[in-house]
Symmetry: D3
Subunit: 298 residues, 6 copies
């Protein structure tokens, strides 16, 4: 239902009162077959989202994925085939690609980071720095790329950050207050900036401890001292250049905001490869009985 | 109203059934003052969007912008001050920053590209390759960065692309069909891949002609031949490295999809600098008459 | 809440991604005073709806009604005064007038019909032939014009029409089935086309009997025979020319679909009479701190 | 999607918690065949909207249009056939007709005006004086009647009106400000009240010039002077009696607010011509397994 | 449409960003057959609502009701069979049962009360003391249990209560004001606390008179005096122990708020009885082409 | 925002097109003061929800809570005072009470159960057997009564039930699959029916173990064997009569579905104690300038 809601809203935003170009040029009855091509190497994510965009405008569309979410694709490779009403395909194209390119971009960079930590126990996870409205999809793309998800929102885990600690008067007090509130169902995570805070957090019974902007040497020390009594998360401007070293410190998870806040879309394009019934409608008025409902809008 | 709808949806996505951390640790009555700091150089856009996020959770919040949308900021500079209910500020923080960082990222790269075309008549414009749901905001950020907007959607201008031309049986036929449909209110733009198509488009009376993936020499020829009889748009993988040369060919506008499809968020952070009334609530149950409505959710 | 929902939807439909004209020409800080003038004689209805349209875009607008809903106005008379942000007034103008003109048009014709039945016991009532989405407002306008309301929808009264009778196998069977279902809370009305059906309806215990397309002589007979045992409603293409004669037959209510299905808008216009702070913004970019939120949209 | 949203909202408005009459009288399993008849001459528009209303309540309904949108129909002619669940047909009848009658009324008057300007180059266009919520449908009906559409809203074209000119300090200043803002994508139209303003608009580079309330002689002069350098639009209380003369002045388009603000619904009716399975349910309680979902509501 | 809206909202509330348990454990392709069992005696209501919950997540689900709404079921009896995608069945289970149990609970107690008044003319009816958001369903459940419905809301009948009488200055004044406003379409009911008020209400022409918290003897007197000139409703803390006596006083309807404000859910459970294709997915990543759309959420 | 959405939906459900009774009898300008009285002993919850209902119809209403959520009240005690527009108070009364009574009913029974487990370490928690649409409020009411919350939905914790175990092929396999999927952020809970399953769950690393329908002796054994290595939850038809014994077995939490699936509303009533400006409007039409917006609806 979330996919459908996002796709519908995106189509309404783009189509507004009607795709004037397509309606002027493409006959209502024309059918087309198109392919989605990769124009650079990467990892695909969001095929069913792209399909939903086409299906919203043509419930009978045939969408054939030629790879699966999480698969690597190479430049020039055909990712999917779409066959259906020509108008629907052209009108939905941009929304389908906007979503598929973004999600594939996320999966691609996630896969690259996962590759770099291979051989360590560290897992790459995302953050809440996602695009407003698209969080569920973006977190899915992270999984498709081989990463794991951090909490989905403010509601499904407790994460005590520096501002909370300042307001609570210290790490221990904050963790105690949170634990009381968390009940038995939620985990308590706390962000620490030093080994002193780390010990305090451990003593207060934190389930997860986030090491904020620590250098690798300190992280290594942290991992040794904790010895598995809590999950350790490394965070803070970790890049492709530094992630391998961080992973080797012994932390359990490494969260990377850039996975979702600074996405580079994967380059994909849609190309129509065959059409049927495309004769222009000539002088006939655009109001005949054969006009499909969407003709009404413009 | 669009801003409010986006901000509300983003807050609902993030908060869900409640910000369990903040509610556990921050007393309902506590007040805080915070600043939003630039952590790298850039151009700001979206201050009123960020303000709307805080205001949604605390209608009495005082948000003081210390610069204006479109202003350049330097690393370390304070961008805005927020004063209000501590819970509202902490709970809205991520949504406010997610939006402000993305829009500022767009404005920053737009400004950089505009700088490179300075001295030519070319204007930098965006495309429809925007984030689903955020188009109006992202197009605003392009303007804040000094760029201009291309059409907002499929409904407010006609842009005939290669697939349309193939379906119509040629540039001239496509333009004619579109012109008939456009009426007097909409402009007709057509994408061409060669000078031959350009002449055909010109002859058919296109208002705007998009030169798709042409090399600078051909673009220059095109500009000379058209001589102002139509608006010329250059498009196709134009980068910071190549835009200046494209601009010097004499085209009128240069559209850059990466302005919005591959955003690098501007690094900003929120820091609480003062708090009042933050004593922890001790053993008192979270159900007192002083509990604010949002307390009900978790 | 219904008024607000209708006004918001109408503004979103009209404004879309922004009022490009007003934003280009009217400075964000400008203020204006305008009047709404009657350009023909009529009865006003919907002042608070018009006010809501302006208030939606400028919560601090001052809207002063110079007459009340239901009042007659003459050509040239000032109906209301609006004072507030110039942009808000110009942008909301069309929606405010579209609604106010339509509702006043309904009130005007209703008042004219009521005038014609004066002195009889007959009341003029509306039907369900209203504009989709605006029923509550249009029924209000009928009341403002002096008429009364028939049922609001399919849910709040039982009205058995010819098709129902055919399906039920007769007037008596239909009334009996309806009475069983209606419980104690809803009235049962039945449409009849002859005196025979009228007697059958009366015998079956109908509360209200609709005389469909009967001539005045037959209606008079009907009224005499019923003698107050049921409410009598006359219906079917009753016009300004014929309503007085119908009213004199002794029926209780006369329903007129044209009250709402064929509205002639009352001619009203908005004129700006004073402005402040309207200097054009010159070369300054549209991104300053003084920009109001709505500036973001285009 | 817009059609579906309008139809759903209209059905919810009308049905509320249930069609008590139909549920009391028509068995859940009954099927019916009905026809939609023209009760006066006119032009049809909105067949697929009417179909959508029936389909919303019975996804398997068979709706057969016997003419096409834009066709003329004569009194007594059958417009469409509907076959499906009897309850769905009766319950959706009013909404389907309310929309079809209104849109056909618009198409009918548009066709009449187009007939009167035949032989001139002038096209009949609509305005923004549409029914709130129904603009897209009403503009479609204008096209079905042979007219063309003016802008869809405040967002897709620039139209500078008298109040804007007053605020800008003159026609030339207003056009210049608008042109700057419009970018390359939108046309700039300006309303003028005299030939002096016309020349000023022309000099400032307006794409379209609206001649407001001018007499035919002045319009003719305007058309001669402009000589094709801008599109000319005539506007202001143009009626069936005067439109032919206006068209002969040489203007390009004639806009008529009354097309949509003062609609006279085309008289249509639905008649059930055959039923199956209509035995009354006798003493059986209304709660059997055969009860369709909509039975739950009342 | 109301059923669908309630079911969707309930599923969104429960599922949020995804059913993590089911997605972790149940393969996307697995199918299951399950039964809904009665775990205590009662009357069933809401089978089509439960079906709608499963169908929302699996449009191809086969739901076979083994009894009808309104039927009595015994402990251990199978109420319905569900066959479809295993994930859909497990994920929708709680929402389907929550609704079915609540509605069946209402039908059960209604049937028990109806049983007690059998042989009298009194009918058991509900009130507006329903669960916010579920009124239409709860009133349906009352009918399924053999009861009848009082008004659906504040809009479809007039019911003058003590506070209204106080504000109007007496029963007669209140009834007169209401009758004037009610027009011909709505019934007027008034609440009275004494025989004096009853006579006043009768004289003022009330259609229905509610006897508030009267003892049986007074009710009997009331019934005798009214003698059928108005419908009499008994109300006020009537329980299973007292309803028979109240019914014998001669009142027409007995309204019981507890039917809906204090529901005891009927005990039902869902048990999976057969599964197919349930092998765990082993090491394969959850991102394959076979992944169903809902997989995207978590 | 959730509170506001629920209250608005409830008001729209109840008010529909208007509160005909109140509008007929209570002048638009009248003001009233009312009290909410407890008519039986209990624990209050939802005061701010009730306040929101009144405030939605009168933004200036003064609502003074005389106790706090979680407080015990006695029969006859005044719970809150409401002062504002008389129409708003009467029209919102039912919605405010429906919500306040339900939430207070939940808090009351929760408090009673908490009382019975006092002195043990066991906490009383709720389940997902809540009213569709009201879960967040009902879980709040449980906290107000002194209980704690189990997971909010299928998304924020993993709970493996019997059907999942059957599908996975055993407790250990199910827990392993879940743990893999849960990542570091979510806890894994599993339902067991025997001590054997308990040991298997413990070995597989479950965080929480639900003892389903076990007798107290077995629970005691379970608690001894687990010895704090996992949280133990008792579940399955636990009543007021049995909860104390269950609590003494050493389990950590006791979940009770009846807290929310079988609510008995707390008996509360609203009584108007003073009115101002209540003269009936006499013969004046209901269309004057003083008419408030809500007057438009009926």
């Amino acid at each position: 239902m979330i996919v459908q809601r996002i796709v519908r809203a995106a189509l309404e935003e783009d189509i507004g009162t009607g795709d004037v170009t397509t309606e002027a040029i493409v006959p209502a009855g024309a059918r087309a077959e198109a392919v989605i091509l990769a124009k650079e190497d990467g990892v695909i994510a969001g095929l069913s989202v792209a399909e939903a965009a086409f299906r919203e405008l043509d419930p009978e569309v045939r969408f054939t994925a030629l790879c699966r979410d999480g698969d690597r694709v190479s430049r020039g490779q055909t990712v999917a085939r779409v066959e259906g009403r020509a108008r629907a395909i052209l009108t939905a194209e941009r929304v389908a690609l906007n979503l598929l390119q973004r999600l594939s971009g996320i999966a691609t960079v996630t896969a690259r980071l996962c590759e770099k930590v291979r051989g360590t126990k560290a897992r790459v996870v995302d953050t809440r720095k996602t695009t407003p409205g698209l969080r569920a999809l973006e977190k899915y793309a992270v999984r498709a790329g081989g990463g794991a998800n951090h909490r989905f929102g403010l509601y499904d885990a407790i994460l005590i950050k520096d501002n909370h600690i300042a307001l609570a008067g210290g790490v221990a007090a904050a963790v105690a207050a949170a634990r009381d509130r968390a009940g038995h169902a939620l985990k308590v995570e706390v962000e620490v900036e030093s080994l002193e805070q780390l010990y305090e957090a451990l003593g207060a019974g934190a389930d997860i401890i986030l090491l904020d902007n620590m250098d690798p040497a300190t992280m290594r020390q942290a991992a040794e001292r904790v010895g598995g009594r809590a999950v350790l998360e490394a965070s803070g401007r970790i890049t492709e250049a530094t992630i391998a070293e961080v992973a080797r410190t012994g932390v359990d998870i490494i969260s990377v905001g850039a996975l979702t806040h600074s996405v580079k879309a994967l380059d994909l394009s849609l190309e129509v490869i065959e059409v049927r019934g495309t004769m222009l409608r000539g002088a006939a008025p655009a109001v005949g009985a054969e006009s499909a409902p969407e003709d009404i809008l413009r």
